[in-house]
């Protein structure tokens, strides 16, 4: 009596230890992989300041003393920055006046910004249009970061678009506030999170609803001109979202886009009329859009944006070139900083647009070139200072290139100083200095792109290998857990792992390399995995066949392998939406064919012809043949129907997502909308009914466990909540005005309530997963002899027939032991029901609970797909169960 609890405690501890080890292995693998895959850029918090020039040497024109001038004398005291979200370059491109014979191009987005074209023609020295190239990722928040800090936000920032954080790096807005300028903002409320408290006056409008074309724009227009006329501003920023939202909702080839662009045209026209002489107008798109109106990637259409500059006084010495020049988007940052007389933000790696620093009125070429050179030199000094600081703080810049660039900079800088000493230097020398400085700045930018957007292949491969090995280990262990002599196997790997960690750490410490916890963890994982696998290999022997390793039936494994292999082919990844159903369908047909081949599909009387001799081992069909056939056909139908809800992956050529994926709110017809709504709610109810019916059939609903009670009462509540939320979401526009607030409140509260219910249901399920009705009666003597507990997978037919009773007896023993410990007076009998579905009931409940929060995240009509998915998995499992002699309960194969 004493020894039993002791050994069981030992077992428990070793199982816990093992689980901890396995999770450590997985974490080490994932960490290693992500450290190679996710690109990281260190954000430096240093700031440029007015009193501290970026490098040695005198500031040009002795500008330090003047008010309102920092590194350079300001050329404009005020700035109007109009940010039109997703203003692609060709939206603003002037249209060539077509000849009389040609028909005019009638794309809705072309040639709508007429005022730009007119200004460019009438005042060529005052305005300039550029094609600005944004760096990927082309999401709005990353672009805003780039447009204010002048750096390259990397992919690791791309994930935080919807929970944006305040910018910690030095940026233009911070410099403006430090200089005491009044910054007025209106538009997209993303800026509120990025620059909290930086604006002297701000009008934020919600940006989250991409279906809403007008709220932000109309809000801006309400405040724009009054604010401008009021004069209480130095920098005015207006961020229009209508064009972007129009792209998301309708795409660029829609008449609505023409309307939106015409509206923007009027805005620009109005602004130009109100500009005063000391003001610069900048109209910029933060990114472009694809032909479907999306953005985020790095295709040409997405990264090309328009940039338009206009000043009431002449700014450019030359007339604009025929084809607008291409400039990197972040060039705007140092340019604006120097034009406004501000320090360039510390982390900027953009290059000033030298053209803007030439003196337009003063036609002397020499002073003009000198002004350009000094601006470039300041910029280069700042970039060099940043490089120096950055390479000291982080190691991920390439040393060799860095060295080369620094040499280039010192040479250019020396040339520049020499020129300053002898002011009457030649024009040619000035031009070489300018070229050298530009070469340096471009080199830095290229190097930064290179090193901030570079994957570490070795780490990725190592992480993937580690993960694969861990999966293999799990497979091994799942087969071996029942064999004796397994537990001692576990202790040695841990010891080895620890030892290898210590050795590795020691090695690294002695060689003086930096200790990387990720690499250390990976070393430990490998160190503990290798001895285990070696021991496993040694202990394998030849008695057990290899096939015993794989718990999955052969055909399933084959198709899994094909599916896995398909990931290595680009075309198959693109065609995934068709390849996966194809493989699934093949699996089903193969299963049915196999059933027939083995003579289990149809009753034998159909097949027995006297002269044939059937082998005796053919076995009796467990299900009627038509049943299996029906399952197969149903599955194929489900798969085909699910294909109707096809969503295109990003950047796929010639692919159209199903129109059924859009939310119901975007539909126009009232009747169709109602029908769809009915279908969606019907799908939900069917899902609920199916789950309840299933549980009822296996009589899991009778248990008094809390999770069962939750299934009985909580699930219908969740269905109700979801249906009500859908009704509100799809009909929110039609609500009467006085109920608006109520509707808005409810559409926030309802999803939260449903998610809360789902979470509490899951917690209940985790707490008491066993939905078995146990009845213990005292006083009745036990009559049955107890069989040996069930262990390991079944091996013979006799075993197979007795699996369920054996589990039952095993459970009975366990429960008896537990009850005896608590009250050990008199013998007991234990009656436990619904053991056959003890695992699957918990599984089904958990999946259903998980489905609801997921449903709320998608559009309404996806509920039909969820229903199909549940049906499919149900049918497939039944088909598999018909094919395999017996399946243990709880075997669940995930749907691809």
């Amino acid at each position: 009596m004493n020894s039993l609890p002791a050994t069981s405690r030992m077992q428990k501890i070793s199982v816990l230890l093992f689980l901890a080890w396995v999770s450590f292995l997985f974490y080490a693998g994932i960490a290693l992989f992500t450290s190679g895959f996710l690109l990281t850029r260190l954000e430096l918090t240093n700031h440029s300041s007015c009193h501290e020039p970026p490098g040695p040497g005198s500031l040009p024109w002795g500008s330090q003393g003047k008010p309102g001038a920092c590194w350079m004398a300001s050329r404009f005291s005020r700035l109007v920055l109009v940010l039109v979200d997703a203003l692609r370059f060709d939206f603003a491109q002037p249209q060539p006046s077509h000849g009389p014979g040609e028909p005019p191009v009638s794309l809705p987005f072309l040639g709508k910004l007429n005022s730009l074209q007119r200004i460019l023609e009438i005042q060529p020295h005052h305005a300039r249009l550029y094609q600005s190239k944004a760096d990927p990722p082309t999401t709005t928040m990353q672009r805003l970061k780039a447009l204010t800090t002048g750096s390259l936000p990397t992919f690791i920032d791309a994930g935080s678009n919807f929970a944006s954080y305040a910018i910690v790096e030095d940026n233009l807005i911070k410099q403006l506030t430090n200089a005491g300028r009044h910054v007025v903002f209106m538009g997209d409320d993303t800026w509120k999170d990025l620059f909290p408290g930086a604006f002297s006056q701000a009008f934020f409008f919600p940006s989250f609803n991409v279906r809403d074309l007008h709220t932000v724009d109309n809000g801006i227009l309400e405040h724009l001109y009054p604010t401008m006329d009021g004069g209480e501003w130095d920098v005015l920023i207006a961020h229009f979202l209508g064009v972007d939202h129009c792209g998301h909702k309708y795409g660029p080839h829609h008449p609505e886009m023409a309307k939106k662009l015409s509206q923007m045209d009027q805005v620009i026209q109005g602004l130009v009329e109100r500009l005063e002489n000391d003001t610069l107008l900048v109209v910029i798109g933060d990114h472009g859009m694809t032909i479907t109106g999306d953005h985020g990637g790095d295709s040409d259409l997405e990264i090309s944006a328009a940039l338009f500059l206009y000043s009431p006084k002449a700014l450019f010495p030359r007339v604009p070139p025929k084809e607008p020049e291409i400039v990197p988007q972040i060039s705007l940052v140092p340019t604006l900083a120097l034009l406004l007389g501000l320090p360039i933000p510390f982390g900027n790696i953009g290059e000033v647009m030298a053209e803007l620093f030439a003196e337009a009125e003063d036609s002397q070429p020499h002073s003009s070139a000198l002004a350009q050179a000094s601006a470039l030199h300041l910029n280069a000094q700042q970039v060099s200072r940043f490089l120096h600081t950055y390479s000291a703080a982080a190691q991920n810049l390439q040393v060799k290139e860095l060295h080369q660039l620094q040499n280039l900079f010192s040479k250019a800088s020396a040339d520049y100083q020499r020129l300053l000493q002898s002011p009457q230097g030649a024009e040619a020398a000035l031009q070489t200095v300018i070229t050298e400085l530009q070469q340096f700045l471009r080199g830095v930018r290229a190097m930064c792109i290179e090193s901030w957007a570079r994957f570490s292949l070795g780490r990725m491969a190592g992480g993937a290998a580690l993960l694969a090995a861990a999966c293999f280990l799990c497979l091994l262990v799942s087969q071996w857990a029942t064999y004796p002599g397994f537990h001692p196997l576990l202790l040695t790997p841990m010891a080895c792992g620890l030892a290898s960690t210590i050795v590795c750490a020691g090695l690294l410490a002695t060689t003086g390399l930096k200790l990387d916890p990720v690499v250390l963890g990976a070393m430990a994982a490998v160190g503990s995995l290798l001895p285990f696998l070696w021991k496993a290999w040694a202990g394998w022997g030849s008695k057990r066949p290899l096939a015993a390793l794989f718990p999955i039936p052969g055909p399933v494994l084959l198709f899994l392998l094909i599916r896995f292999a398909a990931f290595f082919s680009d075309s198959f990844v693109v065609a995934e939406a068709r390849a996966t159903p194809f493989l699934l369908g093949s699996l089903i047909l193969l299963l049915v064919a196999q059933l027939h081949w083995e003579g289990k599909l149809l009753p034998p009387k159909l097949l027995t012809i006297p002269r044939l001799c059937f082998s005796a081992s053919a076995g009796q069909p467990r299900h009627s043949g038509t049943h299996a056939l029906g399952l197969g056909v149903g599955l194929l139908l489900c798969i085909r129907l699910a294909g109707l809800f096809h969503r295109c992956p990003e950047e796929t050529p010639a692919c159209h997502s199903s129109p059924w994926l859009s939310p119901l709110a975007s539909m126009v017809g009232g009747r169709a909308k109602n029908l769809w709504y009915g279908a969606c709610v019907g799908a939900l109810v069917a899902l609920l009914a199916a789950v309840r019916l299933w549980l009822c059939r296996y009589s899991n609903l009778k248990s008094p466990e809390p999770s069962v009670l939750f299934v009985r009462w909580g699930l219908p509540l969740m269905v109700l909540g979801t249906a009500a939320y859908w009704a509100l979401a799809s009909g929110a526009d039609e609500a009467p005005p006085r109920l608006r607030a109520l509707v808005a409140g409810a559409s926030v509260v309802l999803p939260r309530a449903v998610a809360g219910l789902a979470a509490s249901g899951l917690m209940l399920l985790l707490w008491r997963p066993v939905t078995v009705l146990v009845k213990a009666t005292t006083g009745t003597p036990r009559t049955r002899t107890v069989l040996t507990p069930f262990s390991g997978p079944p091996t013979s037919q006799a075993d197979l027939d007795y699996v369920v009773p054996q589990i039952y007896r095993h459970m009975q023993e366990e429960f008896r032991g537990r009850l005896e410990r608590t009250k050990s007076q008199g013998p007991l009998t234990v009656a436990a029901y619904q053991l056959g579905s003890v695992y699957s009931a918990a599984m089904v409940t958990a999946l259903t609970l998980l489905a609801f929060p997921l449903l709320l995240l998608h559009a309404e009509r996806i509920s039909l797909v969820f229903l199909l998915l549940f049906l499919q998995s149900f049918l497939l499992l039944h088909l598999l169960a018909a094919g395999i002699p017996i399946t243990t309960p709880g075997k669940y194969i995930s749907q691809p």
Binding site: L589, E598, L606, L607, S615
Partner: protein, 206 residues
């Protein structure tokens, strides 16, 4: 007896393959602009007709199974009609299967259906020739230990390898983005190229 059977089997298979080659060559003499890739629909029709004809002729000449005792005209006619109905049914059945497998429902209906027809000629027609319109016999042949003669064995192997070839023929589809339904021909070629080794294997192993 067995040796002669194997010989006849080999000749019939060779003739079948020859008929497919003929169906590629001959129409180019009569039809203008005929090529497999450009006018694949015509070729699919012609190929299916050729193969059916060769199969029927071979059946009439070789007579692999003993002819039934009844040989009245009406019996023969009903049998022939039954065969036709079975053939049509198999075409529709394959069409449905293709659609379930992801072929478009409305566009390219003709291509899908012709493909179903040609798959039927490769699988159903030999079955009909050899076993007659007798579903029970078909089911027997396509199950383990259900084969009784060398003819049935070869039928089993060719039919199954046709299916597998068709299935494998679907794999290059994602690789070609511009002309998706020319892959039908790819499927065909694949299918045939898998049939041939299957047949040879079948004859050799006997």
């Amino acid at each position: 007896m067995k040796d002669t059977d194997i010989k006849r089997l080999l000749y019939t298979h060779l003739l079948c393959i020859f008929s497919i080659i003929l169906s590629i060559c001959i129409p180019s003499f009569f039809l203008e602009n005929f090529s497999i890739l450009e006018t694949h629909l015509t070729w699919l029709c012609i190929c299916s007709v050729f193969v059916t004809a060769v199969n029927l002729v071979l059946y009439l000449i070789v007579k692999p199974n003993a002819s039934s005792k009844r040989s009245s005209i009406s019996y023969k006619v009903t049998r022939f009609l039954k065969c036709c109905i079975y053939f049509l049914m198999s075409c529709f059945f394959f069409h449905v299967i293709f659609v379930l497998y992801g072929a478009p429902l409305i566009e390219l209906v003709l291509e899908t259906f012709l493909f179903a027809v040609i798959l039927s000629t490769f699988t159903t027609v030999p079955c009909l020739c050899l076993l007659g319109p007798n579903i029970k016999a078909w089911l027997r042949v396509f199950s383990r230990n259900g084969v009784t003669s060398i003819w049935e064995n070869s039928l089993q192997i060719t039919t199954i390898s046709s299916f597998i070839g068709t299935w494998l023929g679907a794999f290059p589809i994602p690789l070609d983005w511009e002309r998706p339904w020319q892959m039908a021909i790819e499927r065909k070629k694949m299918c045939r190229s898998f049939c041939v080794p299957g047949m040879v294997l079948g004859t050799v192993t006997q």
